[in-house]
Assembly symmetry: C2
Homo-oligomer: 246 residues x 2
């Protein structure tokens, strides 16, 4: 937790995790300064005016810093095991993904859609924002039917993100694609303007051929990360690294 996120016009912290962080990790005292952010708004500082068992009262709240820029990227993710999803949502939020569309896939087990963790997505987003010192949550959507999503919604999504260049604006990571990721990215000169605006990532076990083919038929370019097969979480960080303008 590298900042404390608060709703608009709030000067009282009563969230348990935030209180624990302030008291036990930061070991803050009255008069100390905290890095805070307004959910969906600016970042800034506040002074601790009072600490008691259930609350921390703030004073001198100043919210004068814009949150960091997002990546300009929509990620389409096949729903993975719920435990993995938690870390993925935290990481994609921390890394600055604009929009996350979680879709069904052949290798997504039906039970994953029933997981109680799916009800806790907002919590994971919140963790990711407080980790990265950001205030703006990514948009998150769920699409339980893969084929109708790709056939009926994906083309409009791609068109909305299409620049005026010939390069595909959507890539799909697939270990068995013939085009290597590095060659693809090198050709784009690692420039944010030319980077694809949509990235599709499979869950454990990856996409099946039918899914790759359907996405490619609708405008995706399949790229391979090479011989090494990586965990979904690792793949996501490895890929998003190339969108980070740092």
């Amino acid at each position: 937790m590298n900042c404390i996120l608060l709703p608009k016009n709030t000067q009282t912290i009563s969230d348990k995790q935030q209180l624990t962080h302030i008291k036990e990790v930061l070991k803050s005292k009255v008069g100390d300064s905290l890095t805070i952010g307004e959910i969906g708004g600016n970042l800034g500082k506040a002074t601790i005016a009072e600490i008691n068992d259930n609350e921390v009262q703030l004073s001198d709240v100043t919210l004068d810093k814009k949150p960091p820029a997002k990546l300009g990227l929509t990620v389409i993710l096949a729903l993975p095991r719920p435990k993995v999803l938690r870390r993925l949502i935290m990481d994609m939020t921390s890394l600055g993904v604009n929009k996350l569309i979680i879709v069904n896939s052949y290798r997504t087990q039906k039970s994953y859609w029933q997981s109680p963790l799916l009800e806790r997505i907002d919590e994971f987003v919140f963790e990711g924002l407080q980790q990265a010192i950001d205030t703006v949550p990514p948009v998150i959507e769920f699409k339980k039917r893969f084929k109708p999503f790709v056939e009926d919604e994906f083309p409009a999504l791609l068109a909305a993100n299409k620049g005026d260049k010939e390069q595909s604006d959507a890539v799909i990571a697939h270990p068995y694609a013939s085009q290597p990721w590095k060659a693809y990215i090198d050709a784009l000169k690692h420039d944010k303007e030319t980077m694809p605006k949509i990235l599709c990532v499979g869950a454990e076990g990856g996409w099946i051929d039918y899914e790759v083919d359907l996405l490619c038929k609708h405008g995706c370019t399949a790229v391979s990360l090479g011989e090494r097969i990586l965990r979904t979480e690792t793949v996501v960080s490895v890929l998003l690294a190339h969108w980070l303008e740092v």
Copy 2:
């Protein structure tokens, strides 16, 4: 587990996790083919000759494929929380780090060095190799004293990895460094030959100024990943992405 790693000249699988994977995940039968590797040797295929409660017997073992190339990189990592270390070791192994030197740092709690997980490093390496379809474990060393390591051993390590160019061959990731990572990497043209050979990564909370200064005094260049503060695991994957030749 994307391959089954076995000691040299072994045609019998008796490791419990491997057996569970073969029986319950792959649901293999007699006559099926398995992707296998010889620890430290080649990758290849084998046929399942027999399956019983405690063993799987292999036949037609062919080991004719070299393991994937390593990154050409030594990572110096401040010892993080043991739970995080497990995933970090798996990931760095999967991504192809050649050598991992785990050092003490100001923000490493003393208790981390007593964790029983430190005795299980080989297991995590094994998991990482079987994930990535690799056979060659990274070299792993522990240095419990930071200052003597940096002053007495680091210069020789750097000299051994020094090319004939002026660019520093060691970088330290530090959120408060003034040089941005992307500018640094763009200047190296994303070319494996010119990439640094040593990368230093802090644990949760990062390096303290004294540690950054000491490493820089001995030849490291400090680079910043920007405004977003990422989890150690995420930082490692984001950085190693730039060494992956894929």
